[in-house]
């Protein structure tokens, strides 16, 4: 498989390498039909695209499921391998539990996290084990329990604040922006806020507009915050642990549809670096940057792309603030073409900032304008078909890569 890639790829890649890159930098702009219009591949809500595109995709043959299937093999066959298998929400819980065991200052607060076990069962069983003071059920006031978390953090506790849905944390925006992000700075370093704010976000299955918020775009300009997005059970557990151990306030974005992903993770203690991106699939031809659920759409598209003879490099950026420009930069220097696939809305999303960062730092290495696929600037509709069309689908990713590589 890899060998076939190697033979197919150089035919396209070599023309872009080395001394020819200058010639092709503007050449590709002139040649591509979308070049003059701008570097955006606009996806309209009815599925039409500004680039000549396969109309078969409208309505019919869409790949709706980008969530990895559950267990494939029986339990017996997997016993011999090291590590243990679990679902993503269990991985989060395991990470949380290990940290609570390790450090008695870690506590959890949020709505229904205690006896109910959390709306997505991330904190199930913790209240029974640690008592309902350490796993605290709060009344419904996001601004206030986030504020409570800030106050507790200044006293040395390490609270993990759960928003039942990320969208509700908009009610906590004041505490997150004016206090979490700021108090370490305005107090001259006297008070630290080692708080973790987490919750499920992203577009789910017909959850309606208010429950389908993508807050990473709203929070990204708050100074003092770190933001990470998990996408697999491995990095969910690792990021949870790293976030709890961090001295800075960290917002951990989980995705509603990824909680049931299954993966085998190591038994030993491990953490994932908060500022690091994850190389999902190395490649030579085009860099696809993505995070959270879109990773799975991209991987699905990657399969199609590989079959068509492309060699995409897929990076799950994981760290939304700050961006891991080291990994991203190395990739851009290698492939010279970037496609960003995000679930945020077009305006002011993570893709917009990432694009600016790449242009600022790696302009000379780019052979084509950076393409960014994102959701439209509309509230997420309830109707299933409309909801599908607000998200970037694998077929659009394939088309974008084809356009980039012309």
């Amino acid at each position: 498989m890899a060998a076939a890639l190697q033979t197919a790829a150089p035919l396209r890649a070599s023309s872009n390498l080395g001394a020819n890159s200058e010639r092709f930098r503007f050449g590709s702009l002139l040649r591509s039909p979308a070049g003059r219009k701008g570097s955006l591949l606009v996806v309209k809500s009815d599925g039409r695209h500004s680039v000549g595109f396969n109309t078969r995709l409208r309505g019919g043959n869409l790949i709706a499921n980008a969530v990895a299937a559950k267990s494939e093999a029986s339990a017996k066959s997997t016993d011999s391998k090291p590590g243990h298998e679990l679902l993503l929400f269990e991985a989060l819980r395991e990470g949380l539990e290990e940290e609570m065991d390790r450090d008695p200052r870690v506590c959890v607060m949020g709505e229904d996290v205690g006896h109910y076990g959390g709306s997505y069962k991330v904190t199930k069983g913790l209240a029974t084990k640690y008592g309902d003071l350490r796993v605290l059920d709060t009344p419904i006031a996001e601004n206030s329990f986030t504020g409570m978390g800030v106050g507790a953090a200044t006293m040395g506790l390490r609270p993990v604040v759960e928003g039942m849905n990320m969208g509700f944390l908009l009610l906590a925006f004041n505490q997150i922006s004016n206090n979490c992000g700021m108090l370490h700075y305005t107090s001259g370093g006297q008070f630290t806020i080692p708080i973790v704010i987490r919750g499920p976000g992203g577009v789910g299955r017909q959850l309606g507009a208010e429950h389908s918020q993508r807050l990473e775009s709203y929070f990204q300009s708050i100074p003092g915050l770190q933001m990470v997005a998990c996408s697999t059970p491995y990095n969910a557990k690792g990021l949870m642990k790293a976030a709890i151990r961090s001295e800075n306030p960290v917002v951990l974005f989980e995705h509603v549809l990824l909680y049931n992903l299954k993966e085998r993770i190591p038994d030993e203690d491990y953490i994932c670096c908060l500022e690091e991106a994850e190389m999902v699939r190395p490649g030579e031809q085009v860099t696809i940057l993505t995070y959270s659920r879109m990773r799975y759409h991209v991987m699905q598209a990657a399969k199609t792309l590989v079959n068509k003879g492309y060699d995409p490099e897929v990076i799950d950026i994981r760290s939304l603030k700050p961006f891991d420009l080291y990994t991203i930069g190395n990739s851009v220097k290698k492939t010279h073409r970037v496609l960003i696939v995000e679930e945020c809305m077009r305006t002011g999303g993570i893709g917009a900032s990432l694009r600016a960062a790449i242009i600022d730092n790696f302009w000379d290495y780019l052979d084509a304008p950076i393409l960014c696929l994102s959701s439209q600037d509309v509230p997420t509709p309830y109707a299933g078909s409309l909801e599908e069309w607000t998200l970037v689908q694998p077929a659009q990713i394939v088309a974008a890569v084809e356009q980039l590589c012309q």
Binding site: C107, L133, R134, L136, T138, P139, A141, N143, S144, F145, T146, G147, M148, G149, V150, G151, A152, A153, T154, M155, G156, L157, P159, N174, Q175, N178, N179, M182, L183, H184, Y185, T186, S187, G188, G189, Q190, F191, T192, P223, G224, Q226, S246, E247, N248, E275, P322, L325
Partner: protein
């Protein structure tokens, strides 16, 4: 006096019983309260009164408007036709009469006071005794606070600092409440409580450093003047938005409860702050979680230009405590001894019983809201003058300590001139000191300076090197 003791005992009694609806035990307390009945429904028939009194949950919901008189008995009439139904939260009794709880009780909640306007203790009053040493420290700190406010306000008017906010009229609240706390109690202030810091040992030089934002400021020049903060003195850095500190205090109290420390969290806010959403949720949380926190409301009559009549329609802030299940007290904020006693008792209750307490101190904001405000635009000048002179808490307290033979005119003038001299010197020193270096613009955003901020720092340093004339000289690069 007796009322206060009685109320706390009864309230304690109630607090233990409220979940169990033991009607028999409550009836003695219950019978001493008279819920207000609308005139249209009032009848001299005793049955109406007794129906209200029989069910404890009804009573808890009914407004207290008269002070409780001990053991006043009301005949309880049994009426077999009334039914009790089990709803979530407890049993509730049905009444067939259409009756609304009044929006306001006939009488306002009474106010705890010890010193009268002449500085004489009111006969029969009960209060926490203060030693001569504490009493004198309280007075000298109140005077220091007054002078500090005057001098810094003048400094702002002279353009030497950009902003200031005075505490004139609320010195008793600041100092007396601080005196009743210990250094282990963590304070979450709004912004009109520098007296608490002063009491705890923040020096005049440290105050000046923060106002001038020089390199010795603990906040490293990052906040406006009067946004003091000191982790050493357990005083949380002031944050401008109103009432955001109230849930912080609940969180800190939660942490203290977990650690089983013999300390409480204290938070201050004004009458305007009680309108913020954070206030309501924080009080609710504190009550549900049973954490040791004191909510201190400085009801000074004005939220910039909004008088309390336009801020809320309830009987001040104290009446709201009961709505959240919080023990509360109203106290005369210009009476230093009353504030001291109330906070002392509140602290003890909060820690011993792990419960929140709401203290509302009635006072008056004599100064303008801040240096950006001219309050004569929205309130009469003679009102301000009346409160500045006739109702001044400092002079009232002074009369009391003079009566005790602990103070005299000579001591007064000596204190005032010393403080003034020290302050002026501190201001001069602070003004001349260098500002924090440029590097401090980028530190403490995170625990370690990340690469993007280092890059931004490098760019800025280069820019300043290229155009030195365009940048202020007293900021070291």
């Amino acid at each position: 006096m007796a009322i206060w003791f009685l109320r706390s005992r009864l309230a304690h009694h109630l607090g233990q019983r409220i979940g169990s609806l033991d009607a028999l035990k409550l009836s003695s307390w219950a019978s001493s309260l008279h819920p207000w009945i609308p005139p249209s429904l009032d009848s001299s028939d005793d049955r109406y009164a007794s129906k209200f009194l029989r069910n404890p949950m009804d009573l808890y919901a009914a407004r207290r408007f008269r002070s409780a008189k001990a053991q006043e008995s009301v005949p309880v009439v049994t009426d077999g036709s009334n039914q009790v139904m089990d709803f979530p939260g407890g049993k509730v009794m049905f009444v067939p009469e259409l009756r609304f709880l009044a929006e306001s009780p006939g009488e306002r909640i009474s106010c705890y006071r010890i010193l009268d306007d002449d500085g004489k203790t009111i006969s029969g009053s009960s209060f926490q005794e203060v030693s001569k040493e504490i009493a004198l420290k309280m007075y000298s700190d109140m005077v220091t606070l007054q002078i500090m406010d005057t001098i810094f306000y003048e400094a702002q008017r002279q353009g030497r600092i950009s902003f200031y906010l005075t505490t004139i009229g609320e010195e008793a609240i600041n100092i007396a409440s601080a005196a009743a706390l210990t250094i282990d109690d963590i304070v979450f202030p709004q912004y009109r409580e520098p007296g608490v810091l002063l009491w705890r040992g923040f020096t005049l030089q440290e105050f000046a450093n923060q106002c001038f934002g020089n390199k010795l400021d603990y906040g490293k020049g990052r906040q406006m003047p009067i946004h003091y903060g000191s982790n050493r003195l357990n005083y949380f850095t002031v944050s401008s938005p109103i009432a955001t500190q109230v849930p912080h205090a609940v969180g800190a109290a939660y942490s203290l409860k977990m650690d089983k420390k013999h300390a409480c969290a204290v938070t201050y806010f004004g009458d305007g702050g009680t309108s913020e959403g954070d206030f309501h949720a924080a009080l609710n949380f504190a009550a549900v979680m049973e954490v040791p926190v004191i909510f201190f409301c400085r009801n000074n009559g004005w939220a910039i230009s909004t008088p309390t009549a336009e801020q809320f329609r309830s009987d001040g802030a104290v009446i709201r405590g009961q709505a959240y299940g919080i023990r509360s007290i109203r106290v005369d904020g210009n009476d230093a001894l009353a504030v001291y006693s109330a906070v002392h008792a509140a602290r003890e209750m909060a820690i011993r019983e792990s419960r929140p307490i709401l203290v509302e101190a009635l006072t008056y904001r004599v100064g303008h809201h801040s240096t950006s405000d001219d309050s004569t635009k929205y309130r009469p000048v003679d009102e301000i003058e009346h409160w500045r002179t006739a109702r001044d808490p400092v002079s009232r307290y002074r009369k009391w300590i003079e009566r005790n033979g602990w103070w005299c005119d000579d001591a007064e003038s000596e204190l005032r001139s010393n403080v003034r001299k020290e302050l002026l010197h501190a201001v001069q020193v602070a003004e001349r000191m260098d500002k924090p270096p440029l590097a401090e613009l980028f530190t403490d955003v995170y625990d370690q300076v990340p690469s993007n901020l280092r890059e931004q720092e490098r760019l800025l340093t280069e820019l300043i090197k290229q155009h030195p004339g365009d940048y202020p000289p007293e900021v070291p690069v």
